[in-house]
């Protein structure tokens, strides 16, 4: 059932830093099917965050093609990109990126609010997402009243409340102790088991080992790929 969710061909990303041209990604070819569970490792500066940002439509490649769900992303305008980020892709960041003045519930509600969903439908989805993240008793707390692990689970609930097909996590455990980190990974895995495609950028070998497919990047290239799906 590995229909292509993501299709990268000869993808390059070049940054201009002063007079220098930094090749963050060099001719990356990658095929990711729906429902896969990938980990992405590599030393700092190897291009894994750049790749994740391009996959999440936060950044555009300098050359090459990126087909998402069969559609060429190069042809999308800003508004379409924003809509895709809103309903097809979910983000989890290393530093949570919660809005401090909003409660857990309101933070999770944000993507639905931005999309203009009616209040009643929102309440149900937010409650569900927070329950899946194990936070049904913390909905009215503000980020400052939550532990690091709880904050990251709020962020996961926010990323998944729109039921996106693709969940991108940039070092989701990088800022957590190992017990909290394990809890976060378990939630990501349960979401994957429900059919969500999950890509995790990590430095942590334990996290890496749990993924069903492991990519290793060096110098902007994919060096090894354990389970390149056909």
């Amino acid at each position: 059932m590995n229909s292509g969710l993501i299709e990268l061909q000869k993808l390059c990303r070049i940054f201009e830093v002063g007079d220098e041209r930094v090749h963050a990604l060099r001719d990356v070819d990658l095929h990711i099917g729906a429902g896969e569970y990938l980990s992405l490792m590599g030393p700092s500066g190897s291009g894994k965050s750049t790749l994740l940002n391009i996959l999440g439509l936060l950044d555009r490649p300098s050359s090459g093609t990126y087909l998402l769900n069969g559609r060429d992303t190069a042809a999308m305008n800003q508004a379409q990109l924003a809509r895709y980020r809103g309903d097809t892709i979910g983000f989890v960041f290393q530093f949570f990126q919660l809005v401090p003045r909003l409660t857990a519930f309101e933070n999770v509600e944000l993507p639905l609010m931005l999309a203009g969903e009616p209040v009643a439908a929102r309440r149900e989805k937010v409650t569900h997402a927070l329950t899946v993240a194990g936070l049904s008793d913390r909905m009215r707390h503000r980020p400052s009243q939550l532990s690091g692990g709880q904050r990251q689970r709020v962020a996961i609930a926010r990323a998944t409340v729109t039921r996106p097909r693709l969940l991108l996590a940039d070092e989701p455990t990088g800022n957590l102790d190992s017990a909290s980190g394990r809890g976060v990974i378990e939630i990501l895995e349960s979401l994957n088991q429900d059919g969500m495609t999950v890509i995790v950028v990590t430095h942590d070998p334990d996290v890496d080992q749990r993924a069903t497919r492991r990519l290793r990047m060096v110098d902007g290239r994919i060096d090894t790929d354990t389970g390149a799906s056909s």
């Binding site: 924003a82 980020r85 530093f95 990126q97 926010r158």
Partner: protein, 402 residues
């Protein structure tokens, strides 16, 4: 994003930065309150002046000796030396027009008033019974009976009630003799209390027949001649008649100034409109300052919240939506400021009315609308640039700031 959500989201952001928001709302409020209160004060001043003039009656023509000209005045003065006097005969000549109901020659000066060893310096007015009629002055006791012939001196006078109290205490006033300058006059009447018009306090005044006043001040020129006209529409005709008659009597020279009350009121109106405009400009400047402040504060908010903006973009917000969020904040802030300003203005007007000046006019509706409108517009314009800056932030660059 729904309107309600937008409002709620912006309100949460505003109440988060409490001190900053309050300062900003206060600035806008002071600006718009100033606009409203200053307009109310201006209107009251105008009302006051109009009321003072209304006492005169609106069918009044005033004749003064001397020509007031905007150009060549200095030249005239150096040529002519003295101004040709305006005489009682001139005044008599003005009674001939059939539209003129009454003519009052007026002489003005000041003299010492003595009674039983008490002396007061008081303004002395020379006039005729027509003056009482034209200026609607009432007597509390007695009457101002003079010779029908203006040229005949009669030693009678009317005194203001305060002056009467000071000179005679609580005793009988009418019928007493007092000395004005070096002549003796019999008190024939007392002005009714509270009379006041055009800055002249009747309570301190002494009125004597015009012939006596001319002799007392040793002059042949009147201070002015007042004409009351039967019909307002004939004001212009009477004005022309007065000018023509006096030119003829003064050997073809136009050496008097004729003023109608309409013209006087008109020039006051212009003056007050100019004042009002000035006041509005001043208040407008303070609102512009508030606008700059709003922009500054919003720009700070944008740079403090870049991470949040990046996040909103990452989870599906478009640039225009981000702009709307920040724009809504600016609008809410200025609306709150405008509202508070209007309340503040009402409170100020109320206190002034209660403790200081009960006749203060209500702030006119257009001033409140203008103040609120200007405050809102300023807020919107000032919110525009920060909103656009927020909208243009790259999600990645914004998220990169931890």
């Amino acid at each position: 994003m729904r309107w309600m959500d937008l409002a709620r989201f912006s309100l949460a952001a505003i109440s988060r930065a409490r001190v900053r928001s309050l300062l900003l709302i206060g600035t806008v409020a002071i600006g718009s309150a100033a606009m409203v209160v200053l307009t109310a004060v201006g209107d009251s001043a105008k009302d006051y002046v109009v009321e003072q003039f209304a006492v005169l009656g609106s069918q009044l023509v005033m004749v003064f000796p001397g020509k007031s000209e905007t150009a060549g005045g200095a030249l005239n003065a150096s040529f002519g030396g003295t101004v040709r006097p305006l005489t009682l005969d001139d005044a008599a000549a003005l009674t001939r027009h059939h539209q003129v109901i009454a003519v009052a020659p007026v002489v003005m000066g000041a003299a010492g008033v003595q009674y039983a060893g008490l002396e007061r310096e008081a303004p002395v007015l020379g006039g005729t019974p027509e003056l009482l009629q034209i200026r609607r002055w009432k007597l509390a006791a007695g009457q101002f009976s003079t010779d029908a012939d203006w040229d005949k001196a009669t030693p009678v006078c009317v005194v203001g009630d305060k002056l009467a109290r000071e000179l005679f205490g609580s005793g009988q006033v009418v019928g007493q003799w007092l000395r004005i300058g070096d002549s003796r006059f019999r008190v024939a009447g007392v002005f009714a209390a509270g009379g006041r018009s055009l800055g002249m306090d009747l309570e301190d005044l002494v009125l004597i027949p015009v012939a006596d006043a001319l002799r007392l001040f040793d002059t042949e020129s009147l201070f002015q001649i007042l004409l009351e006209v039967a019909d307002r529409e004939d004001l212009a005709a009477v004005e022309r008649f007065a000018l023509a008659t006096l030119r003829e009597r003064h050997r073809g020279e136009e050496d008097v100034t004729v003023v109608t009350q309409d013209a006087l009121l008109g020039s006051f109106d212009q003056l007050f409109n100019a004042l009002n405009a000035g006041v509005l400009v001043i208040a407008g400047v303070s609102l512009a300052v508030a606008g700059v402040l709003i922009m500054n504060v919003m720009l700070i908010a944008v740079s403090q919240r870049t991470a949040e903006i990046g996040l909103l973009k990452a989870i599906g917000a478009t640039g225009p939506l981000i702009a709307r969020v920040f724009f809504a904040e600016a609008i809410l802030l200025s609306a709150a400021g405008a509202l508070l300003g209007l309340l503040l203005a009402q409170l100020l007007c109320f206190s002034v009315r209660t403790f200081w000046y009960p006749e203060l006019a209500a702030a006119p509706g257009w001033a409140m609308l203008t103040a609120a409108g200007v405050a809102m517009t300023t807020g919107m314009i000032s919110g525009l640039i920060p909103a656009r800056r927020a909208a243009r932030l790259e999600p990645l660059a914004a998220l990169g700031q931890h």
